[in-house]
């Protein structure tokens, strides 16, 4: 089932550099971005009324400070990481099937973008098909059929019986 996925890793055997096995730096970077977003939000906030000592921004500054401190501590530990620990982490990180992960994620993005246009039935069928195919089942038509049945059952049970509003999309316009 994973002829394609094995090729994908073959192409991704990146040379082992300084970055290998220091994955927590990604988390640290995300924390810094988050702190910047919080700071930007605080500086541009339209504060309504009198908020007391902390006000609506105070807790935001606090969280931003925690994020920066934790990012610093993660960065320091990434720099000091012993060689053997890094080798284990690097081996694990290299062992990633990016093709499968990204195509599953693409399915989710497509569903988000197209749900209201295509309607639940079509969009959910496609989502199921894309994720199932990404996860290694290469019988695309069979996946779509299973997805269509699941989407249909959900439409009947949730939309019909329980009265949840699911978008009709294309089917409405026909």
């Amino acid at each position: 089932m994973n002829e394609r996925s094995e090729q994908a890793t073959g192409a991704e055997q990146a040379p082992r550099g300084w970055w290998a096995g220091r994955g927590e730096l990604v988390v640290a970077a995300l924390l810094i971005v988050l702190a910047l977003v919080l700071a930007y939000g605080n500086l541009t906030m339209d504060v309504v009324g009198e908020g007391g000592l902390l006000g609506p921004q105070g807790f935001g500054w606090l969280v931003a400070a925690v994020c920066v401190a934790v990012a610093a501590s993660l960065t320091i530990s990434a720099f000091r990481k012993p060689e053997d620990e890094r080798r284990v982490a690097a081996a694990e990180a290299k062992d990633t099937n990016w093709g499968a992960m990204l195509s599953a994620f693409a399915g989710l993005l497509a569903f988000t973008a197209l749900l209201e246009f295509l309607g639940w039935l079509v969009a959910a069928t496609l989502l199921f098909g894309m994720v199932a195919t990404a996860l290694g089942n290469r019988r695309v038509l069979w996946n779509l059929l299973v997805g269509f049945i699941l989407a249909g059952v959900i439409q009947i049970v949730f939309g019909g019986v329980l009265g949840l509003a699911l978008p009709a999309g294309l089917l409405d316009r026909w």
């Binding site: 996925s5 094995e6 988390v27 640290a28 995300l30 924390l31 988050l34 977003v37 919080l38 939000g41 339209d46 504060v47 309504v48 009324g49 009198e50 908020g51 007391g52 000592l53 902390l54 609506p56 921004q57 807790f59 935001g60 969280v63 925690v66 994020c67 934790v70 990012a71 501590s73 993660l74 990633t96 099937n97 990016w98 499968a100 992960m101 599953a104 994620f105 989710l108 993005l109 988000t112 973008a113 749900l115 209201e116 959910a124 989502l127 199921f128 994720v131 199932a132 195919t133 990404a134 996860l135 290694g136 089942n137 996946n143 299973v146 997805g147 959900i154 949730f158 329980l162 949840l164």
Partner: protein, 501 residues
């Protein structure tokens, strides 16, 4: 004995055929989701919550109680048969449970875990019935300072004491606290971090965050490991799912000891049942070593019984903490809180007065749910195990579809779906780097409580920080917290010196 009269009233309310159907449907669906590999009780609740949106409050809470315990009954099945625990709380059960399955005693392991889950849940719920009103009365004395201490306790406990690495736990806490800040500020009405997106004014729903972190993150993680790690193998469960008399009496003390570990942890906001399940497992192992014929390592029935009872006991008393204190101590309890709020009810000291009928009906339905679950799980455990044969690709594709449905159904907006994609990616990055997920959920749940009680405490005392440590309850909590941190450091240094696995 007011409690018994109220509880009888609750039973009266629940004993209608529609409500009984909701309990059974909830128990059935909860078990089904819980059994799936990689999914546990919190996921069962998050995925199935949208189903309850369209019901009336009582039916919805009743169904919820079925789902809540159903997920817990189910999540050890995958652990025992495939060595892939559905929840972090099922890990401790998995060690000996999977060994029992490999030794050909899978049905006994499943039965032990089902009875354990029943025992723990029952004992905890009985205690909740008797002590929740007392707890609620105590909670009326809680001011903002006490609530802030509780929230801070939960944050430190979950991120530094419970998780492996303090920096990673705190990283997760930071993400969670930031997510909780988005939306209109409750006390001034200022829009915070919404960046002109109207859909964010109400904040990011806990359902969206839970589903994205637990379900979407897991799907992406499984995809990224596709064809890499060895697939888990399913051990067939054949034979009578009953315990013999000696087996039953061997497991009985372990069930009770496990429950004793579990019950107190439901009230402490330390992130759910992970700690008590491991404490229960560790205790059984130490007791076992002293016996003439140690059974640990070869599939010990007590090693399954104790953690399973502890896990469900925690879940049961967490319900009490939620109802009486308004304090969610686990992600699952937080989702129940969201359900209550959706119907305009606020769990906490006043809930028993204002919505007494519904609370007692909910408690009654917990008992019914557990009996229904024992019936569903004990004889039919091997049938549930058939769910583990669903091909992985279709299982996770189905989870993705249900997750998207749940997120879209919470507010019928595609903005929520976009947030789900982004947070799913964050969940994936966190899984890759061993950042625990539990602190995010606790931070999202208790972040607002921490913030507003801190601001209230400051406003009420003219910004005197000493007000935070001015009552015996707060001093007690902070002392406990310091002791916990010291214990965590002691345990970590000891563990790095002596590993006995």
């Amino acid at each position: 004995m007011d409690q018994l009269i109220n509880l009888a009233g609750g039973f009266g309310e629940v004993f209608t055929w529609q409500n009984m159907i909701w309990v059974v449907v909830g128990a059935f669906l909860g078990t089904a989701v819980g059994v799936m590999p990689g999914l546990g009780s919190a996921m069962a609740v998050a995925l199935l919550l949208p189903m309850t949106f369209t019901l009336d409050p009582l039916a919805s809470l009743i169904m919820f109680s079925g789902i809540y315990f159903g997920g817990l009954f189910g999540d050890s099945t995958a652990g025992i048969l495939m060595n892939t625990p559905g929840n972090s709380t099922a890990i401790a059960t998995t060690f000996e449970g999977h060994r029992m399955a490999l030794a050909g005693r899978a049905p006994q392991a499943l039965a032990t875990s089902a009875i354990g889950a029943f025992t723990g849940g029952m004992l905890a719920t009985v205690l909740v019935v008797f002590f929740a009103p007392t707890l609620a009365e105590l909670a009326t004395k809680f001011g903002p300072g006490e609530y802030f201490a509780l929230a801070l306790f939960a944050f430190v406990a979950i991120s530094t004491i419970v998780s492996e690495s303090a920096a990673r736990g705190l990283a997760a806490l930071g993400f969670g606290l930031a997510l909780a800040l988005v939306g209109i500020d409750q006390s001034t009405g200022s829009a915070r971090y919404t960046f002109e997106v109207p859909a964010l004014f109400d904040g990011i729903s806990i359902v969206v965050i839970t589903v994205a972190m637990l379900a979407i993150g897991e799907v992406l993680h499984v995809a990224s490991r596709l064809g890499r790690s060895n697939a888990a193998e399913l051990v067939p469960s054949q034979g009578r799912p009953w315990l013999t008399r000696p087996e039953f009496f061997e497991a009985l003390p372990a069930w009770l000891r496990g429950s004793a570990f579990g019950i107190p942890f439901g009230i402490i906001p330390a992130g759910g049942a992970e700690v008590p399940t491991f404490l229960a497992y560790g205790t059984e192992r130490r007791l076992d070593r002293r016996r003439a014929k140690p059974t640990f390592g070869t599939g010990s029935i007590r090693g399954v019984a104790a953690p399973e009872a502890a896990g469900n006991a925690t879940a049961g008393s967490a319900m009490g903490a939620l109802l009486a204190l308004g304090l969610p101590t686990s992600a699952t309890a937080a989702l129940l809180l969201a359900t209550f709020q959706q119907y305009g009810m606020q769990p906490g000291p006043l809930l028993f007065e204002r919505n007494g009928e519904i609370v007692w009906a909910l408690l009654a339905s917990l008992f019914i749910a557990m009996i229904a679950l024992l019936i569903l799980n004990l004889p039919f455990a091997p049938l549930w195990a058939k769910l583990l044969k669903i091909p992985q690709a279709h299982l996770y594709a189905g989870i993705t579809v249900f997750a998207s449905l749940g997120v879209y159904a919470t507010s019928a907006s595609t903005v929520d779906l976009a947030i789900m994609c982004a947070l799913g990616l964050l969940g994936f990055v966190m899984r890759r780097n061993d950042v625990p997920l539990a602190p995010i959920l606790i931070a999202v749940i208790l972040g607002p409580l921490a913030e507003y009680s801190l601001r209230d405490a400051m406003a009420n005392s003219n910004n005197d920080p000493l007000t935070l440590v001015s009552s015996p309850i707060t001093i007690g909590l902070y002392t406990l917290l310091v002791l916990g941190v010291v214990w965590a450091f002691w345990r970590r240094t000891r563990e790095s010196r002596a590993q006995d696995f």
